[in-house]
């Protein structure tokens, strides 16, 4: 096909994601806009750059909370789709950007964008969270986000010889902690009552969280629902 002005895309043309229709992009935006938090998170942006000033991601990535706020303030549906598919996973969620003199909350907008991305099963979010699902599994099932046994030397060589030392001594070190709620536990951070976990499972189901997990990773969903349902039935 000859290259013409219509099909040539030098990389700066508006439509970076022709694979999605405008209607799809608009639908995602409306989901974002309909979030209860939306109007607390965006007022308008006059491009002062204060949000970028302390943004850790902007130091290394071509990432800009200002652009995110501006795109959303303008309701630039195309650009917002670019952000959903390209930018949001670089945010460190530190909320340094909330110093915004307009009281926008770009980090909060990213939170909503991420949720929408997941809820709609966008491939980019699946890719971004690929290595992370074991943590989701842990938090949803155990009620703790991290546990000592997650610190495998193979996954953390960049933390130095400490990781090997730790991993060799984990069991005995865990017993040498004076707190009763922690002592001896290696697969969770602290001891949690079974009743507490059942309540947590109830929340996951009732809040619609499980639907998000289903979009993200079906097999993870199956795994979690099996365990949770079984427990809930027993409980």
């Amino acid at each position: 096909m000859p290259t013409t002005i219509e099909n040539w895309n030098p990389g700066k043309a508006v439509d970076r994601h022709p694979e999605a229709t405008y209607e799809d992009k608009e639908r995602l935006f409306l989901e974002v806009k309909n979030d209860v938090r939306y109007k607390d998170f965006i007022y308008g942006c006059y491009e002062c750059g204060i949000c970028v000033s302390a943004c850790p991601s902007a130091r290394f990535y071509d990432f800009s909370p200002r652009v995110i706020a501006q795109a959303i303030a303008r309701e630039d549906v195309e650009r917002i789709y670019d952000i959903i598919t390209e930018d949001i996973w670089n945010c460190a969620q530190c909320f340094s950007c909330v110093r915004c003199p307009r009281q926008n909350n770009p980090g909060g907008l990213v939170t909503i964008l991420r949720e929408v991305s997941l809820k709609n099963g966008l491939q980019e979010s699946k890719d971004a969270l690929q290595g992370y699902s074991r943590v989701i599994y842990k938090v949803m099932l155990k009620g703790n986000q991290v546990s000592p046994d997650m610190l495998q030397p193979d996954f953390f060589p960049d933390w130095g010889p400490w990781v090997q030392n730790f991993s060799q001594n984990m069991h005995v070190w865990r017993k040498a902690i004076p707190m009763d709620s922690i002592r001896g536990l290696t697969d969770v951070a602290w001891r949690t009552d079974r009743k507490t976990l059942l309540e947590l499972y109830t929340i996951w189901f009732e809040s619609g969280n499980m639907d998000i997990i289903k979009e993200l990773d079906e097999s993870l969903y199956d795994l979690l629902t099996d365990v949770m349902n079984e427990e809930l039935e027993e409980g």
């Binding site: 850790p56 949001i88 460190a92 991290v146 009732e206 809040s207």
Partner: protein, 406 residues
């Protein structure tokens, strides 16, 4: 009176900073809305039972900090990766015989996962918070949050619950299923605020001279950036321009607090990044924080008050050695520093062995013979290995030790 030069006039003017007036605070006071909701019967507002003290927040509103009868909302990161952090907080309570509750009817706030993955939603997050607060309420103890992210996250959820009826209704529907009321405590309290409140009492019982130590402070983003008006500020600390927690403690304990230009920057934790994208976390922690601190302040120690920050700043230093970056600053929490000052055992309580950046020079500078205590602790471990001891207990750890110098 002689006429002041222009420069003298400028400097004179600068010597009288304005004390902030709560009446012109740009944000609304949440507490009035909470009282409204309580009055309408929409929520249960949990009040502090025991002693409390009050301190000004960013815009001058006074915040109540409970001293005792506290329900310790533990942090996943503390308990999972830096247990000496959690045990130091409790150890400090025990030193003053302050009544506290270390619950097992507690889940994580799940904020870490939420900020990392977005794999949850506002309702889910609010329900988790409310469930935990309801669990605390049932015990009668007042929640004290260990984790900076939980603290910030809960502050934000509180805003959302207060502002959005539909959210309250949805959360209440879920809580009803487990027979729990929708409870919001009258203040959301971070443990570092308690440490701040207790600093004079710590000072009274200080056993270790810390005047040889130069330390930098990393204020935790989620403590003071999320719902910024609900963090403690003190006109005496940085002229009220930065949060006072941590810094005030260190100054009280006689530590020389040194400033550095990237104090406002995040640690680089990134939630998901620290687990699966550590190139970013490492670069940020080293280039923006550790190296800057070394260049500008050359500290013996850096002190912070959140889970993620301790982990990130401590663990990220190692790999940067491959590029000959300047690293080697041990990282502790304010609670650990306070405990150490009061004679907590470096290993049984403070659990230094969970920290990766070399802490020995720091202890040596404090005049602490760490080897002696390490040997002692190894004895504990040997017994545990041999099965003659089930573990280290408060009994082993409670008594302050007369720290032996080198």
């Amino acid at each position: 009176m002689t006429e002041l030069t222009t420069v003298e006039q400028i400097l004179e003017r600068k010597s009288h900073p304005v004390i902030r007036d709560a009446s012109v605070a740009p944000t609304d006071d949440m507490h009035e809305r909470l009282l409204d909701l309580e009055a309408k019967g929409e929520i249960v507002l949990q009040r502090m039972k025991g002693d409390f003290v009050e301190f000004p927040t960013k815009y001058g509103r006074m915040k109540k900090i409970p001293i005792e009868h506290t329900w310790h909302h533990k942090s996943c990161g503390h308990c999972g990766h830096i247990p000496g952090y959690a045990s130091s907080i409790l150890w400090l309570h025990r030193q003053f015989n302050l009544d506290y509750h270390d619950p097992t009817d507690q889940t994580s706030c799940t904020g870490w996962n939420y900020y990392a993955s977005g794999a949850s939603n506002a309702v889910g997050q609010a329900a988790v918070m409310s469930r935990n607060f309801a669990a605390a309420y049932e015990t009668g103890y007042f929640p004290m949050i260990h984790c900076g992210t939980s603290f910030g996250h809960y502050k934000e959820i509180r805003e959302q619950l207060v502002h959005h009826k539909e959210l309250r209704d949805e959360v209440r529907r879920i809580l009803d299923k487990m027979g729990k009321p929708l409870v919001i405590p009258e203040e959301i309290v971070h443990y570092s605020e308690w440490v701040y409140a207790m600093r004079d009492r710590f000072k009274e019982r200080q056993l270790v001279d810390m005047s040889a130590i130069t330390a930098t402070v990393h204020p935790a983003c989620h403590y003071y950036k999320i719902v910024a008006e609900d963090a403690i500020y003190d006109p005496e600390i940085y002229g009220g321009q930065r949060t006072a927690v941590v810094t005030a403690l260190l100054e009280k304990l006689g530590v020389n607090v040194a400033d550095y230009s990237t104090w406002f920057d995040c640690c680089g934790f990134g939630f998901r990044h620290v687990l699966v994208q550590r190139d970013f976390t490492r670069s940020y922690a080293v280039l923006r924080k550790i190296e800057t601190m070394i260049n500008e302040a050359n500290p013996d120690l850096t002190v912070t008050h959140d889970t993620g920050c301790v982990t990130t700043l401590d663990k990220s230093q190692f790999a940067a050695k491959a590029h000959d970056r300047k690293v080697g600053v041990p990282v502790l929490s304010d609670a650990q520093v306070a405990a150490l000052a009061m004679g907590a055992h470096p290993f049984r309580v403070v659990q230094f062995h969970w920290h990766s950046t070399d802490w020995r020079p720091f202890l040596e500078k404090l005049g602490i013979n760490w080897q002696k205590y390490w040997d002692e602790f190894q004895g504990d471990l040997d017994q545990i290995r041999a099965g003659t001891k089930s573990g280290v207990t408060w009994q082993d750890a409670d008594t302050p030790i007369k720290l032996q110098s080198i």
